[in-house]
Symmetry: C2
C-alpha cells in the first residue's frame, strides 16, 4: 500500500529528482538516453506522479471540478460528456461531485470541490444562492450551465428557452392547432423563458395563451391534465415544461380514455433519452447538451490558460424533434 516517489525513481535511474520531474512533464530538454532510463525505472517501480503534490508545488491544477446538481437526471450526464471531451483534449481531468438538489448538500459539495483547488469549476444547474457562487468565483474561474447569472465574474451557458417554446408552438399551429395549453414549470430553472416564449408565440399567432401551473415531474403533469379535464378546459394540444411532465400528461390523458395524438397532441422539452424510447416516442425540444458541456469547458480553459477576464454568455438555439405524439387536431371537436 505504498507508492514509490520520484526520489525512488531517481535513485534507480541514477539521476537527480529534478531530472525525473522533467521527464514526467515531457520536457524537451532531456537527452534521449536519460529519458529512456528514467521511464524504464518508473515502469519497473510502477511509479505514477502524485497529482496533489504536483499541483501544490506548481500552484496550478490540471483538474476541472464539476458540480452536478442531480446525478439522477440524464440531462447532466450528456453535459458532462461534453465537458470531459474538451477537458481531455487539453490534458485536463475532471472530478465530479453532486449536491442532490439540496442547497445544504450542494454547498458542502462546492466546499469539497474547492478544497482540491481545481483550475476551474463548472456548476450544472446549481441551486445554491448567488452569493455562494460569486464567493467561489473570487477564488477560481466559474462557469454556470443551465442557470443564468448577472455576475460579471462568471460565464454562463444556457439554451434559449423562448426560442424553444416558440418552435413548439409554431409546430403545433402549423398542424392546425388553435387551443394550445402550456403546463408551466413554476419555480424550476429555465421555466421562465419557456413560459415567456410560449406566451409570445401564441400572441404572435393571434391565439390566447393558457398557462397551467405545474412542475417538472410526471406526477405534476398528470395532475395538471386532470385539473383541465375537471374544468372541461382541455385544449387540443399541450406544451409541457419538460419531458417528464409530458409523460405524466400522456398517462392522465390515456387514463381518461383519450388518445395521443389523435385526440390531444403533446410536446415535451429537453429530448431526454426517455423521449426517444419507442414506447414513449415524444415530440420534444432538443437542447444541444454535449455542446453545453464543450462550451463550458472551453470557457473555463480560456480563463485558466489565456487569462480571459471579461464574462462570456452563451445562449444556444434549441431544435424541434418531431416524433409521434403530435398530429393535426380532430378527435375532439
Amino acid at each position: 500500500m505504498v507508492r514509490p516517489t520520484m526520489e525512488d525513481v531517481a535513485l534507480r535511474a541514477g539521476v537527480s529528482r529534478a531530472l525525473v520531474s522533467l521527464v514526467m512533464r515531457n520536457s524537451p530538454k532531456v537527452s534521449e538516453a536519460r529519458r529512456t532510463a528514467v521511464l524504464k525505472a518508473a515502469e519497473e517501480l510502477g511509479y505514477s506522479p502524485h497529482a496533489m503534490a504536483r499541483s501544490l508545488a506548481s500552484r496550478t491544477s490540471t483538474v476541472l471540478g464539476v458540480m452536478v446538481s442531480d446525478l439522477h437526471n440524464a440531462f447532466f450526464a450528456e453535459v458532462v460528456d461534453g465537458i470531459d471531451e474538451v477537458a481531455r483534449e487539453q490534458g485536463f481531468d475532471i472530478i465530479i461531485n453532486t449536491g442532490g438538489r439540496s442547497p445544504t448538500r450542494e454547498r458542502r459539495a462546492l466546499e469539497s470541490l474547492l478544497s482540491f483547488r481545481p483550475g476551474g469549476l463548472v456548476l450544472l444547474s446549481p441551486v445554491v444562492p448567488a452569493t455562494a457562487i460569486s464567493k467561489a468565483a473570487e477564488q477560481l474561474p466559474v462557469v454556470l450551465v443551465a442557470r443564468s447569472s448577472r455576475a460579471s465574474t462568471v460565464d454562463t451557458v444556457n439554451d434559449d428557452g423562448e426560442v424553444g417554446a416558440r418552435l413548439a408552438v409554431d409546430h403545433l399551429v402549423s398542424l392546425g392547432h388553435r387551443r394550445i395549453a402550456h403546463l408551466d414549470g413554476g419555480e424550476g430553472t429555465q421555466a421562465g423563458p419557456r413560459r415567456r416564449g410560449y406566451v409570445a408565440a401564441m400572441e404572435a399567432h393571434g391565439l390566447v395563451p393558457q398557462v397551467v401551473p405545474s412542475e417538472y415531474t410526471d406526477a405534476a403533469g398528470a395532475r395538471a391534465i386532470r385539473g383541465l379535464l375537471e374544468e372541461d378546459a382541455l385544449p387540443t394540444a399541450v406544451l409541457s415544461c419538460n419531458d417528464f411532465n409530458a409523460v405524466g400528461a400522456i398517462s392522465a390523458l390515456e387514463d381518461a380514455g383519450l388518445r395521443v395524438p389523435a385526440d390531444v397532441s403533446v410536446v415535451g422539452y429537453d429530448n431526454t433519452s426517455l423521449a426517444a424510447l419507442r414506447h414513449v416516442s415524444l415530440t420534444t425540444i432538443d437542447q444541444p447538451r454535449a455542446e453545453f458541456g464543450r462550451l463550458a469547458a472551453s470557457a473555463l480553459l480560456q480563463r485558466v490558460r489565456e487569462g480571459r477576464t471579461e464574462p462570456v454568455r452563451h445562449l444556444l438555439t434549441p431544435s424541434l424533434v418531431v416524433r409521434t405524439t403530435t398530429a393535426p387536431p380532430g378527435g375532439l371537436r
Copy 2:
C-alpha cells in the same frame, strides 16, 4: 484569485501556524480563548483548509474515489447516494469520475482518481480488465459494485440475480403462466446469474425454459419480440433482462396489436425510475441500490479506519415490485 493560507490566519490571530492547524482539526487541547480567536480570524479572511496540502502532510485522505462506468444510467446515481450518505456521516468526501463504458477511458479515469491518493476506491460496474483492478488494489482499498471478483484483495457488493429471476418466475407462475420466455442479457454484467436463476426456477416448476438472445437496450427487446412473433413462438409471459429491454418488448407487442398485460405479461429487472413512470408502470425486480452504496462505503471505511484485510462479499436479496404489466394469461390461448 488567491486563497489565504494557514500562515495568514496565524498572523492575524496572533498565534502560531501549528495552533491554527490544531483548531482546524478540532483538537481538544486548545484553550477556548485561542480557539475563538483563530476561528474569528479564519472567518474574516475566508480561510478554508487546503485539502491536498493536508493530505500530503498527513499521508492520509478523507476522500473516497468513485468510478461510475456510465453516468447516463440512473442505477448508479442511487448507488452513489448510498455511498455519499455513509461517507458523509464518517466525515469523508467523495469525488466521482466516469469511464463512459469504454475500457480505455475507464482506465484513464482510474489513473486520474488514483493520482489524488484517495482513502479508497469504489468501482461501479467497471469494464476494465481484472488485472487493472488488482493493480489498483495494491495501492489502496478497493470495492467492486455490480461486478464480481475472485481477488482476495477487493471487496464486492452484488445482488443475487438468481434469486431475482426466481422471484419473477414464481410471480408469473402463480398468476397461471406456463409458457414464460427470458430475453437474455448476453454478455452484460449480471446477465449470467439472471439467466441461471430463470432456468432453474422454470425447471423447479416443471416448465420448459425458453432463453431468447437479446441485450440490455430497448431496441434489442423489441427485436427479440419481433423474432418470436415471426416464428410464432410467442409465450404468454416474458421476463426481460432489464427494464429498458422490457420497455422495448412492450412497444413491439403493442405495435403487433397485442395488449400488455391482457395478451402478454412482461416483467423487467432493476426497478429503474423508468419502470415507476405511470405511463410505463412496469412489474419488475428491485435491487436495493442505495444499500449497495452504503455497504460499499462501509466496507471501504472498515479497511481504511480499522485496517481490515480479509475480503468481504455482500450478496443482497432483490425483491419483486408488482405494477400493471403482469396479469393472469387469457388473451391468447
